[in-house]
Symmetry: C2
Subunit: 593 residues, 2 copies
């Protein structure tokens, strides 16, 4: 049975000491998020995750969701009660506007909460997780009436949300979608088509499910320029926030999957279901992107979350499992063998996870803070810079943290040896669950293309130049002896990233395949620099906060050094691969494979 202890102390260190949340007290909601309030919120959330959600993680995996003949879906035993507690705790709306029943606290708290929830139970967390995306989309694009109708229930959690993009023949390439929307005299639309892979598509946790559905209005132009977004609830809204008639959308089947069995992944059949256009006609993709950026950040957080819980379990096992002797001589001569944490190769794995997790969490917190600034600041320039940051970092967080999350789950499983391959310890579930995060909300290869093909060049490279300047500035300011062991490798890595960026500028315009063939390496090179910068920031803050000789300071210094020595050097290999170009990748004709 896996263990989990929410990393509240680490989060507080990031909020209070590294990113100094109190600097943003002028933003709406931030002054309410004082250090003691934040600590109280996180401590309460930690309890819920550790005591209620964690024990249900295995149940969800074993039992899965069941679809009945009438199309209704039963979630695993205990999910309903846990969801009730989540709703009663007001957790879903902590960052939502007060006018719709939320608490108006910074969004950064919801992002942090998502990590805790997903560590304890990723499949469960997807039910409220998708609601967050629906709230964001309706807040941004909904009419006042749509907001009034849907937001209070979504914010409360009595209704949940979904995203409906994928169809059998169309995933990444949404221009191919066929679901139809026929205008009705009353201004609504009749939606008809089949959507697949719909997470939380049907379940018994909430009174209603609000589907946000991409479809093509009759006569719309082909391709992505002809897609519109619709709100299609399972039950039509009734009076006083209640529900009315059943709408024409049903769950045709539940997918059998590799993992996240606790979440119902549905085929949804729309048969003339009533829907309402949200946002502008034929601009559905733009509206969906609001939801998708939210979702992508959340999925990156899932990677971090699984990495954290997998690491915690591997550490516990490594301290307890007795096998072999330390290479430097027995550490526990009175026991039959030493705990395997004495072995350097086991340590190598644990330190890798630790170094990635702590920096990954910092990267998430940093970016979530920018999300708040982008939405709440009064200063346009500040908002723009924050928005630039989010656009640039979202694909990196999604792609890199989910790749690393899966790698951590695999590494943690490896530490268990054969015991990690059998189901009993629950560690192999982390591997199966973590795997999806690399795929959904845009496969990681798509994140890499988004980064290289769209985000780098946008606005004349304004976002990437700002980031280069910031990291370069940090390296320069901290070039004294004390920080040198950390900023010198960071500076070298930054140079690799700059060179790679230059290489694309010089070689990808004329031959776009050069960008495509190097995109994945670039994303990971970027991720390493970003994580390295986070280590720089954390070490600086730790030196200021903790006294010399404090174990917490020592842990940060050692883990940061490990990152610089062991993980960051990979940037050179990424650069070399990027610079090799697309020739050998693209040369073979398809039939030669």
């Amino acid at each position: 049975m896996p263990i989990y202890k929410a990393p509240v102390d680490d989060v507080l260190f990031l909020l209070n000491d590294v990113f100094r949340l109190e600097r943003y007290n002028n933003l709406p909601g931030f002054s309410e998020a004082s250090p003691d309030i934040v600590e109280a919120v996180l401590t309460e959330a930690a309890k819920f995750c550790e005591q209620v959600l964690l024990p249900l993680n295995r149940v969800g995996d074993t039992e899965g969701c069941r679809r009945h003949d009438d199309g209704s879906v039963t979630t695993p035993k205990g999910f309903k009660e846990a969801y009730r507690q989540l709703v009663e705790g007001g957790w879903i709306g902590i960052s939502a506007p007060a006018e719709y029943g939320g608490q108006g606290l910074p969004t950064i708290l919801t992002t942090i909460l998502n990590e805790l929830l997903a560590s304890a139970n990723m499949a469960f967390t997807m039910y409220p997780g998708l609601t967050q995306g629906a709230i964001a989309a309706i807040l941004t694009h909904g009419s006042p009436e749509q907001k009034a109708t849907f937001l209070p229930n979504l914010v409360a959690g009595t209704w949940t949300g979904t995203m409906n993009l994928t169809e059998p023949h169309c995933g990444t390439d949404l221009g191919l979608l066929r679901t139809k929307a026929v205008p009705q005299p009353d201004g609504s639309y009749k939606i008809t088509g089949t959507k697949i892979f719909i997470s939380s598509g049907e379940h018994d946790l909430a009174d209603n499910i609000v589907h946000l559905v991409l479809a093509r209005i009759e006569g719309a132009p082909p391709g992505t320029r002809g897609t519109s977004l619709f709100i299609v609830p399972k039950f039509l809204p009734g009076p006083n926030g209640g529900i009315g008639a059943r709408n024409g959308v049903t769950c045709g089947s539940i997918e059998e999957k590799m993992g996240i069995h606790g979440n119902s992944t549905c085929v949804l059949n729309y048969e003339g279901a009533t829907g309402w256009l949200i946002g502008q006609q034929n601009r559905g993709l733009q509206a969906m992107f609001t939801m998708m950026n939210e979702a992508r950040l959340h999925v990156g957080v899932q990677g971090l979350a699984i990495s954290e819980v997998a690491c915690q379990n591997a550490v516990a096992y490594a301290k307890e499992r007795l096998q072999g002797r330390a290479l430097s001589g027995p550490k526990f001569p009175n026991q039959p063998a030493d705990p395997i944490i004495v072995h350097p190769d086991v340590r190598r794995s644990l330190m890798t996870m630790k170094a990635i997790n702590e920096a990954g969490r910092a990267l998430v917190v940093w970016t979530a803070l920018k999300a708040d600034i982008a939405h709440r600041s009064q200063d346009e320039k500040e908002r723009q810079a924050a928005d630039d940051h989010m656009g640039l970092l979202t694909p990196v967080i999604k792609g890199v943290l989910t790749d690393q999350g899966f790698a951590s789950a695999v590494a943690a499983q490896q530490i268990y040896g054969g015991h990690g391959y059998i189901r009993e310890h629950g560690i192999e579930q982390f591997v199966r669950d973590a795997r999806i995060a690399m795929i959904y909300e845009g496969a990681n290869g798509i994140q890499a293309l988004d980064l290289v093909g769209r985000k780098l060049g946008r606005d004349g490279g304004r976002a990437i130049m700002a980031l280069f300047n910031e990291v370069q500035g940090f390296v320069k300011e901290n070039s004294g002896d004390e920080m040198k062991p950390y900023v010198t490798p960071l500076g070298d890595a930054l140079k690799d990233l700059q060179q790679a960026t230059m290489w694309f500028m010089q070689n990808a315009m004329a031959k776009p395949d050069n960008a495509g063939a190097g995109a994945y390496d670039y994303m990971h090179l970027f991720g390493l620099v970003a994580l390295g910068y986070m280590w720089g920031q954390m070490i600086k803050a730790a030196k200021e906060k903790f006294a010399q000789g404090d174990a917490r300071l020592n842990a940060k210094l050692v883990t940061g050094r490990f990152f610089m020595e062991r993980l960051l050097p990979e940037t050179a290999a990424h650069l070399k691969r990027i610079q090799s170009g697309a020739a050998s990748t693209m040369e073979l004709p398809a039939e030669a494979f």
Copy 2:
């Protein structure tokens, strides 16, 4: 439903053109293995794998093995009939000595056959696979009587074999094992204890199961120097090669696992079971190692096998799935989208698998040939050199090819997007099945330690020096313009490996943790050099065999170049990590995790 086509042509190219099998016609069995015989054998095997075993792969995964109340185990539907065909085809004994009913062909054929079988159905292949190990152990360490009693049935396949090492509290550290052996007046022993994770431990495929069991003779010294190996059959041998009374070993349960559900992984309870010592008292580990080296090579081959079949399926999907347009402009303007094989990031994955698989297969064939030379040559020096090679390369093949096999399965799954995460396409099964190969027969971290801690220094470094000389010689001999693009990077990578080896010599004696912390990187650095050398050999052979302009020559040249440009540069990062030493890896106290 996955597809599979056995890579017979590629194998024949390796046997006939790269390693030129005809040079070894002086070895017993080799003159019988003429090119046309080999081709006929492989073509027949391919048919069996593609038509009989492949369709059962999914069945095995879905149905799994069932244990009944009486302890008997039923294998998935169709396995029994397929196993009957395997036995009737004489496949298990193709390389076994004729005096025990085998065909005496080179062992290299069995190794190649194992790849084909495991690609089609890894879980099934483990039943005959473990029999190969039992045959090897009994051939090397058994008494004439034991050979006569057990080998004919094992070679025929009417009996199968198992390896019994692991106990609940002891996996890697076999010195901790508790299973007891009490001597009996008739020279036999009574074996009592519990063994776990026993692959093919109980099933309905064969008349009898021959367990090779590590146990401690009453009064034996503690630790590994007190373990002995025993033959403990499920049924005692009866007259005329038949079976007698049921022995005191029963299947207590079947493990629920992440994958390889078609294989029964058993808890075996020994309750005073009759066993016979094989090999010397208290030298059980040495005897077991005969079996284990065989098994490790086989497990490395499993990694290759899954990598191959995963790649084949990903290629087929990438040619068929229409999504998006080529960056360089539409390739199939009349279709709604281009097949995803046009996208550089998809290609990058496919080329990586292809480059690894073709070189991995060469590495396996090269090493299997050395196994034959080590066992069959009349020349002692040649035997010794071949044995050195095997000792050195076995952990590399096991560790690197299984890591790569898993990585390929994951990469192939990624190409399917969401369709790879659902069970329907069968691709996620490859990920779950491939995962075990990194763990069993010595987790890959143990392989790395075996390589660095035992194989490097053995006999004054004779094996590694011979390999360095060979690769260096190849680089020198082929430094002309034509081979330069391939041997220059290989030479650089070799230098990295030599530097890493030197670094261990200078830094690991005084501080063994420096070896432990760098071992995993060293294993992969070694693997890259070995695979790079294979590419050098293959390209040279391809240039000699195929005419200019031949598509097969072009494919080898491009894939080899891809390997040199994209995969080999990783050696520098491995070296850098090794040279960073153990300090940051080992410094934190256990409680700091």
